[in-house]
């Protein structure tokens, strides 16, 4: 019988332990308050730029199809105006920031500029019937500050960066469109390094394919930028600058700061 007293004593111990829910908080505010604040902050930051943002957009799993620059301007708490370098459209639709695993930015009515990337291939005539280019229209806001907003596509997980559109947005957009047209007009490309040449051909949208590697490219104002740091013949690079035509390169070329890698258009 005596042993049973001790057993009985144990039970209330468990019960009291279960009741003790108070924990030292790592952060001062509750998770809910912090999420609400993050949503409000994301919304405020997105809306704070009168010229909007330049969105460095990459569709598809592992951003395998190259990217585009979308010029998004959040004009009210519901409306967003979108232009892009790859197409001449200028479309207004709606957006919303709502709480999920963090603040989530969604473009929630049809916008043809996002639609081209997000549509099933049966509609956009890209890649395959069901997924198409696989562009996201919902993004997790990873970071929102006055200098940049970093998003992560909810379905494909691509990192998408927004930088503020400088003053004189019309000129900037024209520059981007010119740069895009210049990048997209050749039939193919080749890399040139000290070790030799590597032939490239266009894959879906803005991707360049060698025999072994897919390069995901986005045109920038000054040249081209790759989704991730890329490598050819052991030389690493991410951004290449456009150099105008010379006698040896009648169509110009793109190269890195050290001049060790050239991306040469082939017509």
């Amino acid at each position: 019988m005596k042993r049973n007293y001790y057993l009985l004593l144990l039970i209330p111990c468990f019960l009291f332990a279960a009741c003790d829910k108070k924990r030292e908080r790592v952060f001062e505010d509750s998770p809910t308050e912090r999420l609400n604040a993050a949503v409000a902050n994301a919304q405020t930051i997105l809306k704070s730029k009168p010229n909007g943002w330049i969105m460095q957009y990459f569709p598809g799993d592992n951003a395998q199809y190259g990217g585009a620059n979308l010029f998004v301007n959040f004009t009210s708490n519901a409306d967003v105006n979108v232009q892009a370098d790859y197409v001449s459209s200028n479309v207004t639709s709606t957006y919303k920031v709502y709480p999920g695993a963090g603040p989530i930015l969604t473009f929630d009515t049809y916008n043809s500029i996002f639609g081209f990337f997000a549509a099933p291939g049966a509609i956009s005539q890209q890649v395959n019937n069901d997924v198409g280019l696989g562009g996201d229209i919902e993004f997790l806001v990873m970071k929102a500050t006055a200098d940049s907003v970093i998003l992560k596509g909810r379905k494909r997980g691509n990192r998408i960066v927004l930088v503020p559109m400088p003053a004189g947005s019309a000129t900037v957009i024209t520059n981007y469109k010119t740069s895009y047209a210049r990048f997209y007009s050749p039939n193919s490309y080749r890399f040139e390094t000290a070790k030799g040449q590597t032939e490239l051909e266009f894959g879906w949208f803005n991707s360049l394919l060698s025999m072994t590697t897919t390069y995901s490219v986005r045109a920038t104002e000054t040249g081209v930028s790759f989704y991730a740091e890329s490598e050819i013949d052991g030389i690493k690079f991410k951004d290449l600058t456009y150099k105008p035509a010379t006698t040896a390169y009648p169509n110009g070329y793109y190269d890195n700061a050290a001049g060790t890698v050239k991306l040469v258009p082939v017509f």
Partner: protein, 297 residues
Amino acid sequence: MKFVKFYTVLFASTLMITACNKEKLDPNSVFVDSTIEKNPLDNYIYNNYVLNYNIDILYKFVDKESDQNYNLLPASYNSSIRLTKLFKYLGFEPYDDITGSKAFIKRYFPKVINYIGEAAYRNNGTKILGTAEGAKKITLYEVNRLTATTGANADFLTDSYFHTIHHEFQHILNQTTEFPTSFRSISGNTYVDDLWVSNWATPGAAIAAGFISPYASSSDKEDFAELYSFYITLSATQFNAMLNVTGSTAAGRTIINNKIVAVKNYMLSVWNIDMDLLRANIIARKANLVNFDQTTL
């Protein structure tokens, strides 16, 4: 034994203290919705759907309400306006007119209508045009196909949206009060289940076997809903043309007509709805489509 009692009381009191420690729950969500300006369509939906029918329309894409297995596009604002106005005109008001009040739709129609811009495509190129989940939600696809041109085409509207709407609504009525089992015995064991996709070389072959459409041959429930929806959304001329399509037979037509009688009896005895009156109402509305304003909110 004193100790035993002491510990028992201690134990009991522990339970009581634990049980009493209750927090009051706040009825409001802890997450604050960001303030979004209401646009004219939001107001229209609130005034015409939420207040009258207790039904909400999600024309803006809501990820968690949509089918995650597919790549989907949101509906466009302009097409959403058209479909929202037409939904009331061709979907709800015929029932209001026949039953004499909005109460019927308010009580039985699914509470959420979800718009998706394009169809949900499978890898083989086949697509989904509409789904109903339980008695709660109807999802309509290809909303962006609705334009000034297609909006004026009554047959397009019927094929793309309203056939599906009435079909799914019939399922919900059946789930509330089942149709008589005698209906099943008319076509008996000739239902083909999933083979409906490949079993019929032409629509006429399905008619000859006593099914209004290939899909109707999948099960008695689908058969019932297909018969109902085709009957009320097509004029007598269109319906007869469907029954007399190439490959159909008189024997097949007889089976279909017998089943139509069963559907009509069910609608009249259970729901007090005369399907011929409902059809006349819908056909009159389709004929008057040219005069119906689809864009002003």
